[in-house]
């Protein structure tokens, strides 16, 4: 998928890749309207975010294409997690947090007044840095989301739980202990349980905030394999400080960094992952991915 012709202007490249990625999606069988499929799932336009007086992000303009994995990379504290949390408005829960600019999900501004945040979070699921299953049974963890939306029927819940656990590649390991506490699972299993819990809500987008940072290499491998499978059906955005991981799993990458201490994070470069890792446009990107800072 590496484009041989050098295009210098980042913006043209983005639209070029969006188009290409759209082409591949028109071949998909379970697509909806073809025009909708070619549109990016999430777009931001001059997005800025601040915590009280501190400006964390400025002028972020990115596009997240459908059914692909977009990685957000950057040094610690650059605001990549904050950016991710703008996509499901989890930042709303932080006191003093303010967002300006536009974040659109399927063309609709999710920060518009009166926008249904509950529905947004059902459409845009999230997996966190540390596995955070509820101190409930494995079954109740997965059934949490469906029950929220009012599913009471036992048969249907059983089916959703089983399907979600299968999709998260966890079913074989836990099918005998669905009634046991989720806290007794290993860290890697807990993280896949959290993914299953998100899948049970039937989201369209899944945000992952450094999902493997608390896992050992074997568990990380399993989660990465799982992401590759899920890509067929979901749009995913993953924040990672691990550049190898970004290179391994993602199709597109956004590189966020802070120029000087105290300044807001900005997107330095955004584009096709292979391209960015083999032939970065910006010098800072090159320095970062070759490990010279960060």
């Amino acid at each position: 998928m590496v484009d041989e012709t050098p295009i210098d202007d980042t913006k043209t490249r983005i639209s070029e890749y969006s188009r290409r990625c759209a082409d591949s999606f028109t071949r998909e069988t379970r697509m909806e309207e073809p025009t909708k499929e070619s549109e990016p799932r999430i777009t931001t336009d001059s997005l800025s975010m601040s915590y009280g007086e501190f400006k964390a992000l400025e002028d972020i303009t990115v596009q997240v294409p459908r059914r692909s994995i977009t990685a957000i990379i950057g040094p610690s504290g650059c605001g990549k997690s904050s950016l991710l949390r703008c996509f499901n408005r989890m930042n709303d829960l932080v006191e003093g947090c303010r967002v300006t600019g536009e974040v659109k999900l399927d063309g609709e501004d999710i920060y518009a007044p009166g926008y249904d945040v509950i529905q947004l979070r059902r459409t845009v699921g999230m997996v966190f840095q540390r596995p955070n299953p509820f101190p409930k049974t494995v079954y109740d963890n997965v059934a949490y989301g469906p029950r929220l939306s009012g599913v009471k029927d036992k048969e249907r819940l059983n089916r959703v739980v089983e399907e979600s656990l299968k999709k998260a590649a966890l079913w074989e390991e836990v099918k005998g202990k669905l009634k046991g506490s989720a806290m007794n699972l290993s860290g890697g299993q807990q993280q896949r349980l959290c993914i299953a819990r998100v899948l049970a809500v039937e989201p369209e987008v899944i945000l992952l905030d450094e999902p493997c940072s608390a896992l050992d290499p074997v568990a990380t491998q399993r989660v990465e394999d799982l992401l590759a499978e899920l890509k067929e059906r979901y749009t995913m955005v993953i924040v990672t400080h691990n550049m190898q991981q970004a290179a391994r799993v993602s199709d597109f990458t956004a590189f966020v960094m802070i120029e000087n201490q105290g300044e807001p994070g900005k997107v330095v470069e955004f584009g096709d992952t292979n391209h960015m890792f083999t032939n970065p446009v910006d010098e800072r990107t090159e320095r970062y991915i070759t490990g010279r800072f960060g």
């Binding site: 499901n88 006191e95 529905q119 979070r121 999230m126 955070n132 819990r197």
Partner: protein, 288 residues
Amino acid sequence: MMKPKTADRIATIVFWLLGGITVGVLLFIILQIFGRGLLTALNPKFLLGKPEAMKEGGGIFPMIISSLYLTGLTLLIALPVSLGAAIYLAEYSREGRVTGAIRFCVDSLAGLPSIVFGIFGMTLFVIYFGWGYSLIAGAFTCAILNLPTLMRSSEESIRSVPGTYREASFSLGATRWTTVRQVVLPSATPGILAGTMLTIGRILGESAAIVYTAGLFVRKAPTSPMDTAAPLASYIWYAQTEALIPDFRRVVDGGAAFLLLLVLLMNFLARRLARYYQRKKLAGGADG
């Protein structure tokens, strides 16, 4: 300069001794009270018998019922209020003047001696509301008295629920109320229960707030909340200081031993409950 190793050894011994003193004092009290009254306290005739005002051989049955009745009523009033306030403070409020004012009031309330609550309860509930010496007047007084500790322990339990649980719940599209109900409260339950059990112990042992509100002597067990009652602790006080019971020593020692048994049982249950939840890992504390 002392060698660090020697200093460490001395510190260990000192702390061991201080810990030992605490245990020793408690054991001494327990042994004293049980030594004097346990035989009486385990005698069914004493436990199920009617009290006598002037004769020997009276029992404490109406007092036991009064104590349990009062405890139940008090919790019925205090638990919803303190839990509601705790949820508000821990989950809904933003730190500011309002929460500061609430905390100040609660802390001041907690610092008042219980006899003050007793006099207040008598003035307001017994006299002004015209409820007379009654279980309900005693329960309201006791509820106000225990509100601060119950609220603070509930708030602490709610706050110790890891924020990651809330995040997970919100990210799945839950509202704040659903999150509180489905995730936060179940996780905080062991702590809230432990606080409640300790409060039960305090209610059982309370006398100053009770003597002028619920009453101190009855011949028959109360049935209605409007009935005058004589909870054990206030009856013990009465028997010891004012009553004309010839065998008051036996009544007081037996009553005290039985009261101590009840309180120890409550503490034991509190620990068992907390451990049960922890073993099942179906409610997390801070250690998840």
